[in-house]
Amino acid sequence: MDVSSPRFKEKAVIALANPTLRQALGQSRKGFVNKRAELVAALPEFEALRDQARDVKDHVLENLDHYLERFDNAVTAAGGHVHWARDAEEARNIILDICERVQARTITKGKSMVSEEVNLNAALEARGYTVVETDLGEYIIQLAKEPPSHIIAPAIHKTKEQVSELFEAAHGGPRKTTVADLVTEARLVLRDKYFKADVGITGGNYLVAETGSSIIVTNEGNGDLTQTLAKVHIVTSGIERIVPTLEDVSLFLRILARSATGQETETYTTLSTGPRRPGDVDGPEEFHVVLVDNGRSKMLGGKFQDMLRCIRCGACMNHCPVYGAVGGHAYGWVYPGPMGSVLTPLFVGLDATYDLPNACTLNGRCQSVCPVRIPLPELLRELRHQQHQRGISPPVQRRALGVWRFVAERPGLYQFANRLAARALKGLGGRDGRLRHLPFAGGWTALRDLPAPEGKTFLELWHTRKT
């Protein structure tokens, strides 16, 4: 997928002025956030589960080589194949080779963020394969030729009316106007595809080292139809999605749905272990897992290792005020919101993604809901630090920070400047004590007034009180 993160500001401004998008995003706030809060309040064990989930992820990362080898062995023992992909191109080539070998024509897909990350669909379509996304949200955005705007609800930015239009254009009339009719129409169209599919590609929420199983967690059942009815099942997953044992799976199942969609459980959790066995009358004849590194191993052992704990639940973006205002597309790549603002610079480079770590108010809501306790604000601050060190931040900002630092390191000068500024701003604030315009901060004062200081600095007030 092309990276349009350099245009974050421009896209954010367009998004803010889009009433349809604002209407759609408003729904998400209500739904996910409230339902999660209710369930968490009803579960006294939740905080302990979060601690344990964090610890298991850290344990896996510290022993990742071991668990990956165990997983590889277990998949092979179950009759499946594991493929290792260092980067996106290798991942695409592995899958293209499989499709070519089995002479595939139709390829169905369950939702897989890794397949978005490696830009799989474009590569498959370029070879002439018919690629059908089967998750309803993914199907909608495939028809709209758009990238996902949310990792759990990819079409969250679309209203019902927009979906009606897309379906009418793709399937012919009569136009459906209720959610029930739209879902039924997609169900009927996609049924044919599942049965026709030669290859079914899904993601993997968890890879179990003990058993060699890959796990998908869905509500629709599309992933299951995809992987059951196609002749060949290919799982695409990041190398960090390993869990050691089934006991660890229970732990993550207890936090995933609650954090993601505010459900006690999603409707379907499926463990796939190898291909069709003797006597089986259905199921895929081949089972492949593509383990994708694509920059993950380089995050190990460094300042961003914590990010590899991410279980892709989407809670951080559901609770992020910036995501809630601009939506997922402004972020310009596959992963939006707080987790995307950390991952995108690490995956595609600091240069093209300057705005992402800076489009954060450091309010900390993401960290407070993250089920594996990733210190997202800290990681975003570290990215800003690295941007500054590498000279990527704008010259004006760098000079301003230089001046601030010079003053801040000299307490006498700092206090003098503070006194001067407090008095000047009080004067500018006028009788009602509000600033309507500020130099260099026009964007802030365009939408609200800044309360002016009252004329004295904190230190001055402190000294007055002490005497």
Partner: protein, 219 residues
């Protein structure tokens, strides 16, 4: 590709600042069986908890007095929903006294299959879900293709937690089955304006036949 495998493993070890784990360290990891926090299931009546959780997600439950009463319960469901007298019925249930004129086959389920009847490995009281193990006696298509999925669950097969279900899975003759399906209700989607709609791709209706005093015959 073998060279990618070793390159990735090498990169991981370099990042972690160590070589491959020693045999004893690896053995210790393999022996690890963590005991994570489980959700309190105070209710001694696992059946009641299973039913209330399962019904909270639009699943339906009918109490059946014994194995031999299953065909009548299936027929009652079929008639209530106006379905033809035909279903994919998993092999272990084929020998039940099905009514005359009721056609059944063991699967797989094809595109026009409207109803299926399957066994399950267990019910999980914690969240009110069913766990099904694929195999010749329980083809996976029966769980996802028909509009109506009827699942036979002996009351004694309801376990407390996921962990109890893993114990049953590990004890199966071939180890883990090809597909292990944990099913918690009818298929649903919230992808259009987060409005919950049942019957997205899988069954529109999942109906549990909870068999009161049934021994292992249905399992």
């Amino acid at each position: 590709m073998p060279e990618s495998r070793s390159a990735i493993l090498q990169q991981i070890r370099a990042a972690l600042g160590r070589g491959p784990l020693s045999d004893s360290a690896a053995a210790a990891l393999d022996a690890r069986r963590p005991a994570h926090t489980r959700i309190a299931v105070d209710d001694d009546d696992l059946v009641a908890r299973f039913v209330s959780r399962f019904e909270s997600r639009s699943g339906t439950v009918a109490r059946v007095s014994g194995v031999d009463a299953i065909p009548a319960a299936v027929d009652a469901y079929r008639q209530a929903h106006g379905l033809p007298p035909r279903a994919a019925v998993a092999r272990p249930l084929a020998g039940l006294p099905w009514p005359a004129g009721f056609a059944h086959h063991p699967g797989p389920a094809g595109q026009d299959e409207q109803m299926s009847v399957t066994p399950c490995l267990a019910g999980i009281a914690e969240i009110g879900s069913l766990i099904l193990a694929s195999g010749p006696d329980s083809p996976t298509t029966l769980n996802f293709v028909p509009d109506h999925h009827l699942i036979v669950l002996p009351a004694g097969h309801i376990v407390r937690h996921f962990e109890d279900a893993w114990t049953l899975l590990r004890a199966l003759p071939g180890g883990l089955p090809r597909a292990t399906n944990i099913i918690s209700g009818p298929s649903r989607t919230g992808d259009v304006e987060l409005t919950i709609q049942l019957g997205a791709h899988g069954p529109r209706s999942v109906h549990v036949l909870l068999v009161d005093d049934a021994p292992a015959a249905a399992a």
